[in-house]
Symmetry: C2
DNA sequence: CTGAAAGCGCTTACAG
DNA sequence: CTGAAAGCGCTTACAG
């Protein structure tokens, strides 16, 4: 491995001068600098990020703690985070928790030790104290998609509004029996969606039909099972609001197996629309969210906090709104 | 930040003794050890991975270089990698290249500098020399899904066989005009699939209909566009072999828009089946691959190479076979 | 403008 | 069984 020392030797200067030249941290005589740069090129020297990190107390790495990567909006969010992080010279460390508090705890404990400078998390909500400790200890923490703790900055979507609007939208179409496929109320987004749904129903004078099982919530099978449950609870069902796209895909499958026509007999909307909605056989109406942008913004906020001097920057909360995109399913 | 020094002071021993106790690297008197452990607990000390890494010349991190995370098999593969890596105490660094050789190059250059101990890559094939250099320099390199370089270990799928079998399968069903949605031949998997398809057609005495555009290849839109192209080139088409699931989803959409019944008029199969196939409205027949397991195996191989003394371990190539799962689309 | 020294937090021969 | 010292590769006051 080529080190600063090798470069210094070849350029006949001290390592400190090489360091200064490379970091532009102080004036170095142009001729000296040129000689150093030549040596760097000749040896194809690359600074050791570890040593640099140790010395500077920085890792140039952001940890991303999410429930699940495959077939969820988190894959797209993660790409957004990675893009921004890379721009700033930061690497992205991935941690899939499967929404298991114990796994999440283990990851957080690992991350806090000099593994990363900041953490972006879509958490289970079961490690609030640990997360606050981490923030207090000086790491930048940003919540994404799930605002479980108001004391910690977040980038989320207006879930309540989106569920409210979706329900109203169906009522406008004449639906009277509107069902909701939701997730565990322990997670803020699901709770808020439920509130929006309920608020709309109340205003409309309609009664609720909901289905919600245990984790994992972000899956097609979950949507399938919940749809079957909704139909059992309310055979008159004429509309389904699904929290996420994957649930919606499962719902379409379940409805097809039951020989129920979409949208003629049952209308369907997803509250977390992504690209796939447009490409389904029955394309899916959705409240679309800019997932990648959410990731980018979260990264930017996190990087800001990493850069700031104050130990615990005041929490900022960014809420995106979703946009109705009508397709065949409604 | 709590350091070894703090623990040593509290336990009234030297830092070296604390280090030995914590790493079980030498005998430490049980009483001393107990005292140390108590101090560790009291201060909730956590070793600094950076310093440890610098000293040991290890990062305990694996870099994962893939084209795209969202809606591809790589999300699942990445989860498999992460799981195995975590078991071994390794973290996982994500790099999305978008199959752009320049971005890939930039990432590889960053990774080689002490950023990681090993790299698992689904590469573009355009940075072969760099990748070999990296391997020679002592990093463990493992190819996943795409075996672009026979000198570097790989975990892949028998793409040729899978395309061959899929084509034969359709012929057995009486299809005569079997089309292929493929990707760029620069990528090994697409090339091999084409070879398998051709071989089968030759044996069957059938003629080919293929569609293939430029990148990005792993998308639904790509499948949609290719299907339209196939239908234009061959209106008699009675079967479509799609390289990956997302292409298949796009194909189903295109066929629906053209009012072509699946499987009555055109049959469809995906060569890289994952969970979503079962949940589509017209569930998709596929040659299923154990994506997560591929990721796990690649991680295990990479970790083995990281652990081995030899600088450049001899290349091993693991080839998974895919399994036909019949569903409604065929 | 540049060198010499100290130090980031750890591990590992080397003594004893 | 344990301490003291050296060193991983870097950066940054401190002199001059």
């Amino acid at each position: 491995m080529v080190t600063l020392k090798d470069v210094a030797k070849l350029a006949c200067v001290d390592v400190s001068t090489v360091s200064r030249a490379l970091n532009n941290s102080a004036y170095v005589h142009p001729e000296t600098k040129a000689r150093i740069m030549e040596a760097v090129k000749e040896l194809s020297y690359q600074p050791n990020v570890l040593a640099k990190g140790l010395r500077e107390g920085k890792r140039h790495t952001i940890g991303v703690v999410i429930p699940h990567l495959h077939m969820t909006t988190f894959a797209e969010i993660t790409q957004g985070i990675e893009e921004e992080a890379t721009k700033a010279g930061y690497a992205t460390l991935i941690c899939n928790t499967g929404d298991d508090p114990a796994i999440e705890k283990a990851y957080l404990n690992r991350l806090r030790n000099g593994f990363v400078d900041g953490i972006i998390i879509a958490g289970t909500g079961s490690n609030k104290k640990l997360l606050r400790d981490i923030q207090v200890s000086g790491l930048a923490v940003t919540q994404i998609m799930r605002k479980q703790d108001p004391e910690i900055s977040s980038v989320t979507v207006g879930y309540k509004t989106s569920a409210y609007e979706a329900t109203k939208y169906f009522a406008d179409k004449g639906c009277k029996q509107i069902g909701l496929i939701n997730g565990t109320m322990k997670l803020a987004p699901y709770k808020e969606r439920y509130q929006g749904y309920q608020k709309a129903l109340k205003e409309l004078g309609l009664t609720e039909t909901t289905a919600e099982f245990d984790n994992p919530v972000n899956t097609m099978n979950y949507g399938y099972d919940c749809t079957m449950e909704l139909l059992r609870r309310n055979p008159q069902l004429d509309a389904i609001v699904a929290a996420v796209d994957t649930q919606g895909i499962g719902a379409l499958r379940a409805l097809k197996e039951k020989n129920i026509k979409v949208p003629e007999e049952v209308r369907l909307i997803s509250l977390t629309g992504q690209a796939i909605g447009a490409m389904l056989e029955t394309s899916m109406t959705a409240m679309e969210i800019p997932a990648k942008e959410l990731g980018e913004k979260a990264a930017v906020m996190n990087l800001e906090d990493i850069g700031s001097k104050t130990k615990k920057p005041s929490a900022r909360h960014l809420v995106y709104s979703s946009v109705l995109v009508e397709r065949e399913s409604s």
